[in-house]
Amino acid sequence: MSAMAKVCEDLALVERFCRGDDSAFDRIVEQHSAAVAALANRLLGWPRDVDDVVQDVFVAALVGLKKFRGDSSLRTWLVTITVNQCRRHRFRRLRRLRLVTPPDARAAESREPDGDRTAMDQETFARVRRAIRALPQKYREVIALKYLEGLEVNEICALLGVTSNALQVRLNRARNRLREQLGDLLEDQS
């Protein structure tokens, strides 16, 4: 399906929802829940259990869908909500003084789904995830949105509400921090 057709379908779903058709929201959830969960997982540092955040994102979407004007695509709109909900989630978590890595994330790091991966690979990728998790929230967001979600710079600027220059500054700083942490890995890869 082309991007334009997807946008048209999304708008049609929103229109149906505004007219009172609940199945349209079900369809939206069905289409976007996996992407929302994946993004939340990345933004929260791979805790794996993102049920609460996903539920909160769709609660916010349900409440705000009637106000959706179609200025951006539905996906971008949901990404914005997910970013905001992840910020809230992190804030709540910090407020509860859970300053250490949550047990879920530690468990996720220790779990190994496939037997054929080498211990070195596991450790390497766990190290990369730790480095990203250690970044401040604003840097981790831009890294996740640019490199993991593959969004364009103008899209990220729009959904984070920052200028292009500010985004470039954040990206540079985030990359520098990653270089400090993972410089050897990036050298080895070449």
């Binding site: 609940d22 929201f25 794996r48 259990d49 993102v50 609660v59 409440v63 995830r129 890995l185």
Partner: protein, 202 residues
């Protein structure tokens, strides 16, 4: 450090982290959650306002103990305090009930998901039986086709039929037995023909 290297490394790390877990999202569930949240958001400030009003009233009543208040005013204030307390308690109770119901629903959903993930023991036994029958058939086929031990193979096929009479592999074993019988019959018929023909050929 170029962009592609970072992108590649992060994508790999993300991929190796595994899929995120999240429960099924339904419109009904989302609506229920939104409703509960609205109640909490609305109930919280009401309860807080009621508490503040109760506090202020109590403070106002007890501020000047020396001064005499008109009895009617005191009674009226006391009545207001009682009403506010009742309202406050009702709101708090409602909020607690909603939160409790939410907790129960979530626990129930988790238990249902856990229950759904447990395999049906009957199906599991059927699967094991089917697997055993298949292994026996495989060994019998090997005896018959690769090692040419027809008698042992026949015994093995009969064993499968005896042990698992209703299983699909028992039907296959029956087919194999009938093939062996047919082959034996053809062979014996062929020998008879040869014996009959021999004198003429000689």
């Amino acid at each position: 450090m170029n962009e592609e290297k970072i992108k590649h490394l992060l994508a790999e790390a993300d991929q190796r982290a595994g899929e995120p877990r999240f429960g099924p999202v339904s419109t009904a569930g989302v609506r229920r959650r939104a409703c509960q949240r609205r109640l909490v958001w609305q109930g919280g400030p009401v309860a807080a306002a009621a508490l503040v009003l109760v506090g202020m009233t109590l403070w106002a009543v007890g501020r000047r103990p020396g001064e005499s208040q008109p009895p009617q005013r005191i009674a009226s204030l006391e009545e207001q305090v009682r009403q506010l307390q009742a309202q406050n308690e009702t709101t708090l109770k409602l909020v607690q009930e909603v939160l409790e119901k939410d907790r129960r629903d979530r626990r129930l959903a988790a238990l249902e998901a856990q229950l759904a993930s447990i395999p049906d023991p009957v199906k599991e036994i059927d699967r094991q039986v089917d697997k055993t029958a298949f292994i026996l058939l495989y060994q019998a086929d090997k005896l018959y086709k690769e090692l040419n031990q027809t008698e042992s193979a026949v015994r093995a096929y009969q064993e499968i039929i005896q042990l698992f009479p209703t299983n699909q592999w028992a039907n296959v074993a029956r087919e194999r037995l009938s093939q062996i019988e047919q082959r034996r019959f053809n062979k014996s018929e062929g020998q008879k023909g040869v014996e009959k023909c021999e004198p003429r050929n000689v």
